[in-house]
C-alpha cells in the first residue's frame, strides 16, 4: 500500500517547463496534446492507496492519496485538460498553455494531496498560475480583474493557512481527513475552501474574473478552481449542515443574477455559482447518495460548462462581440449553426434534459435532498433548475443566435463564420461526452465513491422533468416580448471591496497623508532649529537660553508685541549672526586645561572618598 508511484501531475509540470524551449510550432502542439494523454495513462495505471510519503519535520507529507473520490475528480480534470488543449491549439503564444498546465497540474496536486501542507502548496500554485489566463487577455479591464482575483484567492489562502496552523497547534497533525468539523481551526479551513468554491458572499471573484479571461483560458478556469474546492469539501466537510443551506441559496442566487446579465460569459459564470451550489448542497446533506451526486455533478458540470464557454468563446472569437445586446438580431444561427448545436447540447445538459449528462447527475443531488427529507432544500434546487433552463437554455441562445436587433440604428453587417477547426473538434468531443454520459450513465456511476443504487430513467422522473422544462418554455415565450436587455453593471458583493478599496485609497491619500506631512513638518522644524543652533557651538548654550527666554516672554508663544520680547528677540538675532570661525575662539586654550584639571580633581575626590 505504500511506496512510490509516478504522480500524474508531474507530466503537467514537465510539460510547462518544456513548452517554451521546444522548437517549432508542430512540436509544441504535439507536446500540448501529449501531456494530457501521458497523464491519463498514469492515472489509469495508478493503484489505490497512499504513496510518495515524505517525512517532513515531525510530519508526513502524502503526495499521492489515491481512492475513488480523488480518482473520479482526477479523471475529469485530465479529460478536460485534453479538450481544453485542443480548443487552444491555434493560440500562438505558449505562455497561456504554460499557465494552463501549471494550473491543471496543481489542481491534480490538490486532488491527490493527503495532508494539508501538500494541499496548501498546490492550492497557492493554482491561484498564481490561473491568474495568467486572465492577464493574457491583455486589456486594462482584465489586468484589474486579474489583480482582484489574485487578491481574493491570496486572502482565501491565508484563511486556509491560518486554519492549518491552528490545527497543528491544537491537534499536532497536518492530516487532511474527513469529519474534522468543529473547533476554530476547522472554521478557518472551511472558510478558505468556500472562497474557492465561490459560496456567497465570497463568490463575486468568479463572475468578475472569468468573463475577463482569454477565450481559451476561461475554458480552463471554469473547470478547476471551483471543482477542486468541491472535492476538498467532499473530502473534509461532508455532512456539515450549513453547507447544505449555503449550497441551496447559492444555486438560486446564481440564476437570479444570471438572468439580468447580458455579457454571455458573465451570465454563464453566475451559472457556475448556481451549479456549484448543487454540489455544495450535496456535500452538506452528506448521505452516500448526495455525495455521489456532488461528485457526479462536478464531473458532468466540468464537461458541459466548458462546452458552454467554448461555444460562446467561438462566437466571441468570430464576431468579437461578447454581449447579447450586440449579438441579438445578427442572425448567427445562419452563419454559426454548428456552434449553436454544440451550445444547445451543453444547454440541455445543464438544464438536466433527459439523455443529457446533467439529467443523470443533478437529479442525484436533488434525490439526495429528498431522501434526507429536506423538502425546502429540494424545492430550492428545483427552482434553481427552472432558472437554469430559463437563462442558459432559452435566454442566452435566443438572443445570441436569434433575437431582434437591440439598437436598430446600428446597421452592422451580419457577422459570423466558422471558428478554427480545432475549436470545433474540441466542442464536438465535449458534446459527445455530454450525450454519452447522459445515455449511458453507468460509465460514470461506476467511478463514484460509493456504490450507486440510483436509476435516473424512471417513467415518473422523465415525465416530471419534461413537464417542468416545457412549462418553463411556455412562461418564457409568454414573457419574451417584455424581456429587454441593457448594458448595465449589476452590483454584487464585490462592491464592498471595489468601492471599499477606493475609499481606503482616498483615506490614505487624504487624511492619512495630511497627518503624515504635518508630523514631518513639525519634526523638521525641530531639526532645523538644532542645525541652526549647532552652527556655532560656542554660542549654542546662550542661544538655547535666549530661545527659552523668548518663549516665556511671549507668554508661551501666544503674545506677539511685548516690549520685553522685542529686546530678547534683538539679542537672539544678534547672537545668531555670530559665525563660528576658529580664529575668533582661539584664545581660550585655558578653558580646556581648566576643565581637565577640574574633572581630574572631581575624579580624585570620588576615588579618595569611596
Amino acid at each position: 500500500m505504500t511506496g512510490s508511484v509516478m504522480p500524474p501531475y508531474i507530466y503537467y509540470f514537465i510539460g510547462a517547463l518544456l513548452l517554451p524551449v521546444v522548437p517549432g510550432r508542430l512540436a509544441k502542439r504535439a507536446l500540448t496534446l501529449l501531456v494530457p494523454v501521458l497523464a491519463f495513462a498514469a492515472l489509469v495505471a495508478v493503484p489505490k492507496g497512499s504513496y510518495n510519503i515524505i517525512p517532513f519535520l515531525n510530519y508526513h507529507l502524502i503526495l499521492m492519496r489515491v481512492d475513488k473520490l480523488s480518482l473520479v475528480f482526477s479523471y475529469v480534470f485530465v479529460i478536460m485538460s485534453f479538450i481544453g488543449a485542443i480548443y487552444a491549439l491555434h493560440i500562438k503564444e505558449e505562455g497561456q498553455m504554460v499557465a494552463a498546465f501549471l494550473y491543471v497540474g496543481s489542481t491534480l496536486g490538490v486532488t491527490f494531496a493527503g495532508d494539508y501542507f501538500t494541499l496548501f502548496f498546490f492550492w497557492e500554485i493554482m491561484a498564481g498560475a490561473s491568474v495568467f489566463l486572465i492577464w493574457y487577455n491583455k486589456t486594462e479591464a482584465s489586468v484589474k480583474a486579474g489583480y482582484r482575483y489574485l487578491l481574493v484567492h491570496v486572502a482565501g489562502g491565508c484563511l486556509l493557512l491560518a486554519g492549518i496552523l491552528l490545527q497543528i497547534a491544537t491537534k499536532h497533525s497536518i492530516a487532511f481527513e474527513p469529519g474534522s468539523f468543529g473547533g476554530v481551526a476547522s472554521y478557518f479551513i472551511l472558510a478558505g475552501f468556500i472562497v474557492n468554491a465561490a459560496v456567497p458572499p465570497f463568490h463575486p471573484w468568479l463572475p468578475d474574473a472569468y468573463p475577463m479571461g482569454t477565450i481559451t483560458g476561461s475554458v480552463f478556469l471554469t473547470a478547476y478552481t471551483t471543482k477542486s474546492a468541491v472535492y476538498v469539501l467532499c473530502r473534509g466537510f461532508a455532512g456539515v449542515e450549513v453547507l447544505m443551506w449555503l449550497g441551496a441559496i447559492m444555486a438560486i442566487y446564481g440564476v437570479v443574477y444570471a438572468f439580468i446579465e447580458v455579457d454571455m460569459r458573465k451570465l454563464l459564470s453566475y451559472h457556475i455559482v448556481s451549479q456549484v451550489g448543487y454540489m455544495v448542497c450535496g456535500v452538506g446533506i452528506g448521505t452516500e447518495l448526495a455525495l455521489n451526486g456532488s461528485a457526479a455533478h462536478a464531473f458532468c458540470h466540468i464537461l458541459y460548462k466548458a462546452l458552454l464557454f467554448m461555444a460562446c468563446g467561438a462566437v466571441i472569437h468570430v464576431t468579437g462581440k461578447r454581449k447579447l445586446t450586440e449579438l441579438s438580431g445578427k442572425g448567427l444561427y445562419k452563419t454559426m449553426p454548428f456552434t449553436l448545436a454544440m451550445y444547445m447540447i451543453a444547454a440541455f445538459s445543464i438544464s438536466a434534459v433527459p439523455l443529457f449528462n446533467g439529467f443523470i447527475s443533478k437529479s442525484m443531488v436533488v434525490a439526495g435532498a429528498g431522501e434526507a427529507h429536506h423538502g425546502l432544500v429540494e424545492l430550492m434546487l428545483h427552482l434553481a433548475s427552472v432558472g437554469t433552463f430559463l437563462s442558459v437554455g432559452l435566454k442566452l441562445p435566443y438572443f445570441a443566435w436569434f433575437g431582434k436587433p437591440i439598437h436598430p440604428h446600428e446597421a452592422e453587417p451580419v457577422m459570423g463564420g466558422r471558428p478554427p477547426l480545432n475549436m470545433e473538434i474540441a466542442m464536438a468531443i465535449a458534446g459527445f461526452l455530454c450525450i454519452a454520459l447522459g445515455v449511458y450513465p453507468d460509465a460514470l456511476y461506476r467511478l463514484l465513491p460509493y456504490a450507486v443504487n440510483f436509476h435516473p430513467y424512471t417513467y415518473g422522473h422523465v415525465v416530471k422533468t419534461m413537464g417542468m422544462l416545457l412549462f418553463v418554455l411556455l412562461a418564457f415565450v409568454i414573457y419574451l416580448p417584455k424581456i429587454s436587455l441593457h448594458d448595465r453593471t449589476n452590483l454584487d458583493t464585490d462592491w464592498f471591496y471595489r468601492k471599499g478599496a477606493s475609499l481606503l485609497y482616498r483615506f490614505v491619500s487624504g487624511p492619512m497623508d495630511a497627518f503624515y506631512r504635518n508630523m514631518q513638518a513639525r519634526f523638521s522644524r525641530q531639526v532645523d532649529f538644532i542645525a541652526f543652533v549647532a552652527k556655532n557651538p560656542y554660542t549654542a548654550p546662550a542661544l538655547l537660553w535666549l530661545g527659552f527666554e523668548r518663549f516665556v516672554a511671549s507668554g508661551f508663544g501666544v503674545l506677539k508685541s511685548v516690549p520685553d520680547l522685542a529686546r530678547v528677540e534683538a539679542k537672539f538675532q544678534d547672537l545668531s549672526k555670530k559665525d563660528y570661525t576658529p580664529e575668533a575662539y582661539k584664545s581660550p586654550v585655558g578653558v580646556g586645561v581648566m576643565l581637565s584639571v577640574f574633572f581630574l580633581a572631581v575624579f580624585m575626590l570620588i576615588y579618595l572618598l569611596r
Binding site: 440564476v255 437570479v256 432558472g387
Partner: protein, 73 residues
C-alpha cells in the same frame, strides 16, 4: 409562431401533464406531499419561471443595476 405551431406546442404541454396522471409500474419515489400532485412540476416550472423573471427584473435589477462604467468613475 404560426397557428399550427401554437396548437402543436399546446398539445405537447397537455400530453406531458396528462402523462403525469398515470404511472405504470409503481409511482415515482415520493418523499413529500407535493410530489403526489399530478402536474406539480409543470405548475412549479411555470410559476417558478415567472417568479424568477419578475423577481430578477423588478426587484434585483432596479436595486443593484448601475451605469456600465460605475466602477471606473
Amino acid at each position: 409562431m404560426t397557428k399550427g405551431k401554437k396548437i402543436l406546442f399546446a398539445a405537447i404541454l397537455i400530453i406531458v401533464v396528462a402523462l403525469d396522471f398515470y404511472h405504470p409500474g409503481g409511482a415515482h419515489e415520493v418523499h413529500f406531499w407535493w410530489q403526489k400532485i399530478p402536474g406539480f412540476d409543470a405548475i412549479f416550472g411555470f410559476l417558478g419561471c415567472f417568479f424568477l423573471m419578475l423577481f430578477a427584473k423588478k426587484v434585483i435589477y432596479p436595486l443593484f443595476s448601475r451605469e456600465e462604467d460605475y466602477y471606473d468613475r
